[in-house]
């Protein structure tokens, strides 16, 4: 059993969620700042596809609260909230998103391809394909005799990919210290979950691989925290993998520029925002007042704006060096 979060942890969960949201709000602003006239996806300081994770912060905050930076996380094409909750350097992450030489990948990766050896964080733009490398990290941790774990994150759409099922089987077979996390935000781009998935909960699929599966229905950060606590403890104890599905919320579009005309739930979305809900919970519990909440927000804004400033002031990569880092010696192809 996992103890409920203590008061300090509850405020920390809130702080993480606010930091992640503040980052996404800043990306939203910077992304759209110079896409005009009209909307040109390749234009501006932050070009390309942009998948923002507003609304999904409870998953990242609740899970990563149990991790240290010695543990691994593999995230999805919508990775920022997990990267932030796992403690990635905000400046270098922002710089990567701005395509700068100071970025995590020296501008070669972009927002879907963030790699940070310092926190064992990575993400993949290919649905479900972040699961298999997490197995390998867990495998290496296990061989070294440590109690480190790997957290592998996907969306609910990924649970219909082969990589998802192969990974669950292999992780269970070898009792790897993995926590599989499924972020069910209801939508695979425009396809609702009911049109893609034959089971009401991907947690039931865990049973097919002889591992515990749990679904959190209400995007509640403390319920995620509790479930993740059980799963991480099980993995650290050498008892193998678990799966947690969280019914979360995609507050914004699949990517920026998505008009979401397909979305029938759009009217209800703002009312389901987990941030004001959790802030209310903490205020009712006497853990936060208006000034306290404002201070958390101000601190997040300061960190994020510092990171954005760092990114903007950083040099762009040298086009003559586009061929570098294809191989490990740093040399050209």
């Amino acid at each position: 059993m996992t103890a409920p979060p203590d008061d300090g942890t509850r405020v920390e969960l809130y702080r993480t969620m606010v930091l992640a949201r503040t980052f996404e709000e800043a990306m939203l602003r910077e992304y759209h700042a110079d896409k005009g006239p009209g909307f040109d996806i390749g234009k501006g300081l932050v070009p390309g596809e942009m998948h923002l994770a507003a609304g999904q912060e409870p998953v990242a905050a609740g899970v990563c609260a149990h991790l240290t930076t010695d543990d691994a996380v593999t995230a999805t094409h919508r990775p920022h909230h997990f990267a932030i909750a796992h403690g990635i350097d905000l400046r270098r992450m922002a710089a990567e998103i701005f395509g700068r030489e100071t970025g995590l990948g020296r501008g070669r990766g972009g927002h879907m391809h963030l790699f940070d050896p310092a926190t064992h964080f990575s993400c993949s733009g290919i649905i479900a394909e972040g699961y298999p490398p997490a197995l390998g990290q867990a495998f290496a941790f296990q061989r070294k005799g440590t109690d480190r774990v790997a957290v592998a994150v996907t969306g609910e759409g990924a649970a219909n990919q082969g990589a998802f099922h192969e990974s669950l089987n292999l992780a269970a077979l070898w009792r790897l210290p993995v926590v599989f996390v499924v972020e069910d935000n209801d939508w695979g781009i425009s396809v609702p979950r009911a049109s893609s998935t034959c089971v009401p909960s991907n947690a039931v699929r865990a049973a097919g691989y002889d591992m515990p599966g749990e679904r959190i229905e209400d995007n509640a950060v403390e319920a995620v925290y509790a479930a993740a606590g059980r799963a991480v403890a099980r993995a650290r104890a050498g008892d193998g993998p678990s799966l947690i599905e969280v019914h979360t919320l995609r507050l914004w579009g699949h990517f920026e520029g998505d008009a979401q005309a397909y979305r029938k739930d759009i009217e209800d979305v703002p009312g389901r925002d987990p941030l004001p809900t959790y802030e209310r919970t903490l205020r009712e519990a006497g853990l936060l007042d208006e000034a306290g909440a404002a201070a958390v927000k101000a601190e997040a804004v300061e960190k994020v704006e510092d990171a954005v400033r760092f990114a903007k002031e950083s040099p762009a990569p040298d086009p003559a060096e586009a061929g570098r880092y294809v191989f490990a010696d740093g040399g050209p192809a």
Binding site: G105, S167, Y325
Partner: protein, 340 residues
């Protein structure tokens, strides 16, 4: 220094395993993963004896889940292990290519060189024994086309060992493609060149360096893997007629030793490319472009390409041999190019 290092006659398969064993002995982080690599010793004898020698914690049979176990190799490599992961037949890449080309091959670049993936992906290639369209392809051009993977293709026991040791020690992912026809397997037709003396001690063959397998002055045959054997057989035959063939064994496709190609063609002025992969958009065109990009004037005759025409590998023996670059086709191409 001793005058003579000890050597043994080994098949290409045994030399490859010898290289793996030497590195496993030297480096605890080297492990072997794949389907039937344990008790069976690899369907094509690519891991024979390793389970007995190093145990089940380092020589590990996997489920038939190529995406999961190749991806596992990637994650393990990122965390400091040096996995050798076997894709039983290269033809099976269709079920797991995302891990190979979108992950294994791209992580170094996407991370700006901050993350290394020191992994060897071994895989069996090639036809000639009626295994049909899904178990007979070479496909090295497909892998070599995609950036971020080194690709090596040994043709003989010495190179098999030396390239394996180099591949394991390399900090970049290396795809090690072994043709079933060069392994010296007792249950498949084999060229005498599949068995040779190999030093017992560990040694390396540099990745990215071609080898002049036979020096000659009239025409250059650029080739790789089993076709090296065929080209050498043809060269021996033509030598009796006074045609002096140079055979260049590329050994690595990534990096490609373009200097060696240019040096040889500059000498002979004639080029035949022999490739057991498909003809179009592949290795044979790349070799020709290597010459014409630099100096088309090096060529005194039209180039000939002997490759698999763009059809799936057929099952029936006569059909299969009609499309493979067999010695008869290689000889005809050389004769056409030298006008003999």
């Amino acid at each position: 220094m001793t005058a003579t290092a000890s050597r043994h006659r080994l098949t290409t398969a045994k030399a490859m395993v010898d290289g793996i064993a030497a590195e496993m002995e030297r480096d605890e982080s080297v492990i072997v993963l794949g389907e039937d690599v344990g008790a069976y010793g690899g369907i094509f004898s690519s891991s024979t004896g390793l389970l007995d020698r190093f145990g089940a914690t380092r020589v590990i049979d996997t489920p038939i889940s190529e995406t999961a176990f190749i991806g596992l190799g990637i994650g393990a490599a990122v965390e400091g292990l040096r996995p050798i992961v076997e894709l039983m037949f290269v033809d099976f890449f269709g079920v797991c290519m995302d891990q190979i080309y979108n992950h294994m091959a791209k992580i170094s670049y996407e991370s700006g060189g901050n993350v290394k993936v020191p992994m060897v992906l071994t895989t069996a290639v090639g036809g000639g024994y009626s295994d049909g369209a899904q178990h007979s392809q070479c496909l090295w051009g497909t892998f070599a086309h995609l950036p971020g993977m080194k690709v090596v293709v040994p043709s003989n026991p010495y190179d098999a060992k030396g390239l394996m040791i180099s591949a394991i020690r390399d900090d970049s992912p290396v795809v090690y493609m072994f043709h079933k026809g060069v392994l010296g397997l007792p249950w498949m037709a084999k060229n005498p060149r599949s068995v040779d003396e190999v030093p017992d001690e560990p040694f390396t063959v540099p990745i990215g360096k071609a080898r002049v397998a036979r020096a000659g002055s009239d025409v250059t045959v650029v080739t790789v893997s089993l076709s090296v054997h065929h080209a050498l057989d043809v060269a021996d035959r033509l030598a009796t007629e006074g045609v002096d063939v140079e055979v260049l064994d590329l050994r690595s496709l990534v990096p490609l030793d373009r200097e060696a190609i240019l040096t040889s063609v500059a000498k002979t002025g004639r080029l035949v490319v022999v490739d057991e992969d498909y003809l179009s958009y592949g290795l044979s065109g790349e070799v020709v472009a290597t010459v014409t990009d630099v100096d088309p004037g090096l060529l005194r005759a039209k180039v000939a390409r002997v490759a698999v025409p763009d059809v799936p590998i057929p099952y029936a023996h006569a059909l299969e041999y009609a499309v493979l670059p067999r010695p008869e086709r290689i000889e005809a191409a050389i004769r056409a190019v030298v006008g003999a």
